[in-house]
């Protein structure tokens, strides 16, 4: 693991037109160049370059969609991309006829299936309506086509039946409710044919939906139902035959279809990448970033394609011009989980110190001090090992945090021995160092001292960053720079000299240093503008500058005080941990003074509670100390992640 992100190199590659596709394929296969969009660069006469590739990318995207639909309708999973090199399709038109033909073949059969299903549904509706009449032994045509009687067989909302009957007070009619189905009712409306229009409109206004059984269905309701069932069987066999044909297509074409699908997908992604290239009259311009150690390989691979390919290299320096360089941090093994905790806060910028290693050292230390218990630490250690070994499938995604838990567990064990605590029992092990409950004040003072050391370290790291980035005004005058550090140390010194008799350094020295550093901080804004030659040097006038600087200084002093006191929580939590554990022993004693099963159940529950609940709180507090007290002093983040153009197997599948 390195203290700084990988060195990056910016390159600009000029590729003659005829090699553009080959070079793009090479870049996609190698997968270490992060492409920058320079499509805005184009020579006269080549304006349409971007839109050409845009058109191609759109065509490939449509093809991909079409193929995916076809695959879905055939119930074929596109599966994984084939191993080895995939070839780009030159023109989408080459493959379009094949895809169209296949789509048509499948659509014809699918439409047939849908139509047959609709026919079946219609017949089932007829059966549903006729079933309540199946006992009526009169031909149906005689019910509906009477000379003097008008009838409607259909469904209507049950709650509209009463209203309908009310509405028909002046017209003779019969409404038979044949069957109730949820909030609908199957009804037969009968009335005089003389009132046909009136009945028809009244039925319609009550949302009675009549079913028009074709005249071809003749006989008693039971006979019609039998005919309908036979027809349904015939339709089902038609569906079976269509399904069989679709299955045949699937068996014969699945391999080919998958292959084409991945080719089209690959071609689409390549076309999209090429949209980002710049265009000269006879060549393309490719710009991007890559790790400096990959430059040689890229150069030789490009030269192997053609010696006419020109690579222009721009080495990244420590100046602000390289601020846009993408950030590559290669972290392996134990540090991965800690790296994730850092990037959750922010991605380091290019010339900024990566605090992962510091987090790896301080996080378990702070956690262990707050959660010092041999037993509890052991449980965490085992949990960390389980995560690391990926033994539980559901927790596999958390494997990278295994080392974090493991180290926190080990640190808890160490502090457990130092504090003489095991599973909350404070009198079983001798305390190598001290019992927190018996030495509260000492512990709080020690942790405050530890905080002062960490804050000083953070300030020194801020100086290192400023030095590295050549921010000299910041380095000397900023409240997080040398002036801030001197102010902090002089204040600490003053407190120590006031509290310790015969302190070797005179108080006046600390006062003098404090005054000088206050003046330096006070004038930092002035110096910043002075060295950057920005006038006026006192922005907004001296009075405003004075007020602003005064309050900033005040905030700095308050900040140092609150940050230092924040670390006292380490001691407080160590005491709380021991205290909370002892509460469960007191409870267990009250529940079962004979120390039977009840006693041990309470103790076990208490330990689970402490490990789970307090463990979570301590983790949050540790993270808080790291993020807000420690990181905020020297780490600003804001870098952009390195995302190389890569169309290797996993990327091709992942970019769906």
């Amino acid at each position: 693991m390195k203290w700084y992100p990988e060195r990056m190199t910016e390159v600009e590659i000029e590729v003659p037109n005829q090699f553009a596709r080959k070079v793009t394929e090479l870049l996609a296969d190698e997968g270490f160049l992060q492409l920058e969009d320079i499509s805005y660069l184009h020579a006269k006469g080549s304006d349409t370059h971007g839109s050409n590739w845009q058109v191609k990318a759109n065509q490939f995207a449509n093809l991909e969609k079409q193929l995916l639909e076809t695959l879905r309708s055939l119930n074929i999973d596109p599966g994984q991309s084939p191993d080895g090199h995939i070839k780009m399709i030159s023109e989408p038109e080459d493959i379009q006829p094949f895809v169209n033909q296949l789509e048509e073949e499948i659509q014809t059969r699918s439409k047939d299936l849908v139509a047959a299903q609709q026919e079946i549904n219609l017949r089932n509706t007829y059966i549903r309506l006729l079933t309540p009449l199946s006992d009526v032994n009169i031909p149906f045509e005689r019910i509906r086509n009477r000379r003097y009687i008008y009838s409607v067989l259909g469904t209507m909302p049950s709650d509209k039946i009463d209203r309908f009957e009310t509405s028909m007070a002046n017209i003779p009619f019969v409404l038979l409710e044949l069957k109730k189905e949820g909030d609908q009712a199957i009804v037969l409306l009968l009335g005089s044919r003389q009132n046909k229009d009136y009945l028809h409109r009244a039925a319609r206004s009550a949302y009675l939906v009549g079913v028009d059984l074709p005249d071809s269905y003749r006989g008693t309701p039971a006979e019609i139902i039998a005919v309908l069932n036979t027809e349904i069987e015939a339709l089902k066999s038609r569906m079976d035959s269509s399904s069989h044909e679709i299955e045949k297509i699937r068996d014969s074409r699945s391999h080919n279809l998958r292959e084409i699908y991945w080719q089209v997908r690959y071609s689409r992604l390549l076309s999209e990448s090429m949209m980002r290239f710049g265009k000269l009259e006879h060549s393309y311009l490719v710009a991007g970033w890559l790790p400096s150690n990959k430059l040689e390989k890229l150069s030789s691979d490009l030269q192997a394609i053609s010696t006419s390919i020109i690579i222009d290299v721009k080495e990244s320096g420590k100046d602000s011009e390289t601020i846009n360089a993408p950030i590559l941090i290669e972290t392996k093994g134990f540090a991965q989980g800690f790296q994730k905790l850092v990037t959750t806060y922010g991605m380091p910028s290019y010339n900024e110190l990566n605090p992962t290693l510091l987090l790896l050292l301080t996080f378990p230390l702070i956690f262990g001090a707050m959660f010092g218990d041999v037993g509890h630490g052991l449980v965490l250690t085992i949990a960390g090992l389980i995560l690391m070994l990926k033994k539980v499938k559901k927790l596999e995604s958390l494997a990278s945090f295994g080392p974090v838990v493991l180290l926190c567990g080990i640190s808890s064990i160490v502090f457990g021995f130092l504090f003489g605590s095991i599973f909350g029992i404070e009198d079983l092990l001798p305390a190598v160092w001290m019992h927190p409950m018996h030495n509260i004040m000492s512990l709080l003072l020690i942790t405050a001292g530890f905080g002062a050391i960490l804050l000083s370290l953070a300030n020194i790291l801020a100086l290192v960053n400023d030095f590295h980035q050549r921010h000299w005004v910041h380095f000397f005058f900023n409240s997080k720079g040398l002036a801030g550090l001197l102010l902090y140390w002089s204040l600490l010194g003053l407190i120590l000299s006031l509290s310790i008799k015969n302190f070797p350094v005179d108080q006046l020295v600390f006062i003098a240093v404090a005054i000088v550093s206050i003046l330096m901080i006070f004038l930092s804004g002035f110096f910043e503008r002075y060295f950057e030659k920005k006038k006026p040097y006192f922005e907004g006038g001296f009075l405003l500058y004075f007020i602003q600087s005064f309050f900033e200084l005040f905030e700095t002093l308050i900040g140092y005080l609150s940050n230092s006191l924040s670390y006292v929580r380490i001691g407080a939590f160590a005491v709380a941990h021991a205290g909370l554990s002892s509460v469960f022993f007191i409870l267990a004693n009250i529940v079962d003074p004979s120390k039977g099963v009840g006693y041990w159940l309470i103790v076990a529950f208490g330990n689970i509670f402490v490990i789970g609940f307090e463990g979570m709180i301590v983790s949050i507090q540790t993270l808080r100390l790291e993020y807000y007290e420690f990181f905020s002093k020297f780490f600003s983040g804001g870098g952009r992640r390195y995302q190389p153009f890569r169309l290797a197997k996993s990327n091709l599948e992942g970019a769906k």
Partner: protein
């Protein structure tokens, strides 16, 4: 008055009494009506309790449609506060009452789809539901067809009504059966909510909401007769079997071509105080509606002085506020079209009797 009803309604009544004090007075209406144009009217309205609604608009309000959209937000916000502070047993009714605007929006969206209107034009004709959960109107609109828009309403309370109505929509190529189904089922659900209230609340809710149902039934029946030439049976099926005073005998009488205004005057003698019209004249339908609404307005205003702790006060306030907004919307349109006062005043629920030419000039 029971102690339990006092404790249940004390909170919401206190708030509603505060809201009542923000209602526009008749004198304010007279002043607003005297404004020469829309922008002056909006500026004048900015000095009232509508200021916060007008201020929430990011763009300047230039059209009457947009102004109406903004001021309706007050109704939504007041509904929200009243529902929040109403006793839990009264909330379902108030929530259902608020759904009237969702129903109006639903119908407007379906009409917009039917005529191929632009979403940007439609959106400000909709009632601003704000943060209340509602139907996916924009997505429905983007569907492009009534059928596919209705598919988006699966698993909502409208699903069954619309599924039935859709069969008729296919046959008749008209949104009429769809809109009627939505309306009838909405009011039926609202009436069911009234039936689940405590006795004392039911009484006042039946009166206030019942009068609204009466107004709807009368308007619908008269329109179905005059414009659609429906039979008695159809008119009955397309109206509601409940209300405050209007029953099927009145509907049948309208279907038999009797003058609705005379019929109403028989059961609501108080309407004669609000105006007198020949209801059979089709050009006067809207005036009839206005006169009936004025009577509801007076009834609601009277409910403000009722000291009992029931749902009456919140209901009366919400109905009065809605009428106030209805009048303001009419004023917006009248001012943007530069209509003279005598042309729009008869359609206002608030009476502008005191407006004289002198006052107009004074303003």
């Amino acid at each position: 008055m029971s102690l339990s009803s006092v404790s249940a309604y004390a909170n919401v009544h206190t708030r509603v009494r505060g809201m009542i004090s923000n209602l526009l007075s008749d004198a304010t209406f007279v002043r607003l009506s005297a404004c020469p144009d829309l922008s002056t009217l909006i500026a004048k309205l900015d000095e009232t309790s509508y200021a916060s609604c007008l201020a929430s608009s990011e763009e300047s309000i230039k059209s009457s449609r947009r102004a109406a959209y903004e001021i309706r937000k007050k109704l939504t916000r007041d509904y929200k506060i009243i529902i929040q502070h109403a006793p839990s047993f009264a909330r379902p009714l108030l929530e259902q009452l608020f759904k009237l605007y969702e129903v109006d929006n639903l119908k407007a969206v379906l009409r917009g789809i039917e005529v191929g209107e632009d979403w940007e034009k439609i959106r400000y004709t909709l009632f601003p539901i704000e943060n209340y959960p509602t139907l996916p109107f924009e997505e429905m609109f983007q569907c492009g067809t009534v059928e596919s828009a209705i598919v988006l309403l699966n698993n909502t309370e409208y699903q069954t009504d619309l599924k039935l109505a859709l069969t008729r929509y296919h046959d008749e190529k008209s949104l009429f059966p769809v809109e009627v189904a939505i309306d009838l089922n909405y009011w039926r659900r609202l009436w069911d909510q009234i039936n689940s209230l405590p006795q004392q609340d039911q009484k006042i809710a039946r009166k206030l909401i019942g009068m609204m149902v009466d107004k709807n039934n009368l308007t619908w029946a008269a329109r179905y007769r005059a414009f659609h030439h429906f039979s008695e049976s159809e008119i009955i099926n397309y109206t509601l079997p409940f209300g405050y005073k209007v029953d099927d005998s009145i509907i049948r009488a309208i279907a038999a071509d009797r003058d609705p205004f005379q019929l109403v005057a028989e059961i609501y003698p108080a309407i004669l105080k609000e105006g007198s019209l020949d209801g059979k004249s089709t050009s006067k339908w809207q005036l009839n509606e206005t006169i009936f609404t004025r009577m509801i307005y007076s009834t609601c205003r009277n409910a403000f002085s009722d000291g009992s702790f029931t749902i009456g006060l919140p209901l009366a306030y919400l109905l009065v506020l809605e009428m106030e907004i209805q009048d303001l919307t009419l004023l917006f349109e009248a001012k943007s079209l530069e209509m003279p006062v005598d042309q729009y005043a008869p359609y206002l629920i608030h009476k502008l009797q005191n407006l004289t030419k002198n006052q107009s000039k004074d303003y």
